[in-house]
């Protein structure tokens, strides 16, 4: 997989009329490595959490190899540990992963991959590769940024997942070490930068109320799915308020 992505990243990129003021390759690689290493190491937290939730070593590693999108992985093991039905648990993880489709849309324009390369590049379409790629000024830099971030992160994330799971099996009671707090802390760290406007904060607040309020009354895993409705509900409420105000212009938010 990595070989093909690198091959597609190199030919014809310099010919695309990159401005002479384009970013040096070394600077792109440095940015990409920084993100790849920092986030790749947090696979350790996933390995520990997954093993602590009762998944086997093989199941934990399969998740990092095959799913490779952190929030969905944490959500799945959390839901399974809470005794959720496997399909309900998978649905929550799937909905979290849906944002990657929108990253792919943006990336496919920037990377201009051949049709054959797309199925191979797809596994690396995640938050971090998108963030690095979108920050680059030229197509060549976008391709280098995407490939280096994707490769570093994929290798490290899987390696640290394995080490974390082995470590958790070695220390036994992961809760005594506070490792059950790693999952929610990861979610909070992913969530925090998204809470920029009142719309996002309102969605988060309503989702917390729904998620906690329905927990005692609905089967495990279902309250999270219901909480997802906070997004359309808040959008609908704001749309109504905007139209009540009668102004023809939008909210000016993106």
């Amino acid at each position: 997989m990595r070989g093909v992505t690198e091959q597609t990243a190199l030919p014809d990129a310099p010919g695309a009329g990159a401005p002479p003021g384009g970013k040096p390759d070394a600077a792109v690689v440095r940015d990409a490595l920084g993100v790849g290493v920092a986030v790749g190491l947090s696979g350790f937290a996933f390995g520990v959490t997954s093993a602590g939730s009762g998944l086997t070593l093989a199941q934990t590693c399969a998740l990092s190899l095959l799913v490779f999108t952190g929030a969905s992985q944490f959500a799945l093991v959390g839901a399974l540990a809470a005794g959720g039905n496997p399909l309900t648990a998978a649905a929550g993880a799937f909905f979290l992963g849906m944002r990657n489709a929108f990253y792919g849309l943006r990336l496919s324009q920037l990377l201009a991959l051949s049709r054959a390369a797309r199925p191979l590049a797809a596994q690396w379409v995640i938050d971090e590769t998108t963030a690095v790629a979108l920050a680059q000024p030229t197509r060549r830099a976008v391709r280098i940024g995407f490939t280096v971030t994707g490769l570093t992160l994929y290798v490290l994330w899987n390696l640290t997942t394995l080490l974390g799971a082995l470590g958790a099996e070695a220390i036994g009671d992961t809760d005594a070490w506070g490792l059950d707090a790693a999952g929610p802390a990861v979610f909070l760290a992913l969530l925090a930068p998204m809470l920029r406007t009142t719309t996002e904060r309102a969605v988060a607040a309503l989702a917390v109320l729904l998620g906690l309020g329905l927990l005692p009354v609905l089967p495990a895993g279902v309250p999270v799915l219901v909480a997802a409705l906070a997004a359309p509900l808040v959008l609908w409420a704001r749309g109504r308020r905007a139209s009540d105000a009668g102004a023809g212009r939008g909210e000016g938010e993106r």
């Binding site: 920092a38 799913v67 959500a75 496997p86 992963g97 379409v125 005594a176 506070g178 490792l179 059950d180």
Partner: protein
């Protein structure tokens, strides 16, 4: 076995949506409402998951050492600490509170 089913369904679903974004012609999903919903859906899910994994014990709501740990993570985030430090703060504080019998 049920865990493997969940892993399989999640892996196929998550890969499919990643590939979908690369294959769909640009503009197909670019309606403003769809884009806004896609941006807000993770906010709702992550907020609900954070709250549940902090306060849930099975189907009951409890206040235990995890709440202190996640509060420490929130402080670390406000101080703009790096990702790993945020997670480490939560783990260390939770373990510390538990060791003190909390």
């Amino acid at each position: 076995m049920t865990i493997w089913i969940a892993i399989g369904v999640t892996a196929v679903g998550c890969y499919a949506v990643k590939l979908l974004g690369l294959l769909v012609p640009a503009g197909a999903l670019e309606q403003p409402l769809v884009r806004r919903l896609a941006a807000l859906l993770p906010v709702a899910l992550l907020a609900a998951l954070t709250a549940q994994q902090t306060f849930a014990d099975g189907q009951a709501l409890v206040l235990d050492a995890r709440a202190a740990g996640v509060a420490a993570a929130a402080v670390a985030l406000l101080l703009r600490a790096p990702f790993l430090l945020v997670v480490a703060a939560a783990v260390v504080v939770t373990a510390g509170v538990r060791a003190m019998g909390g």
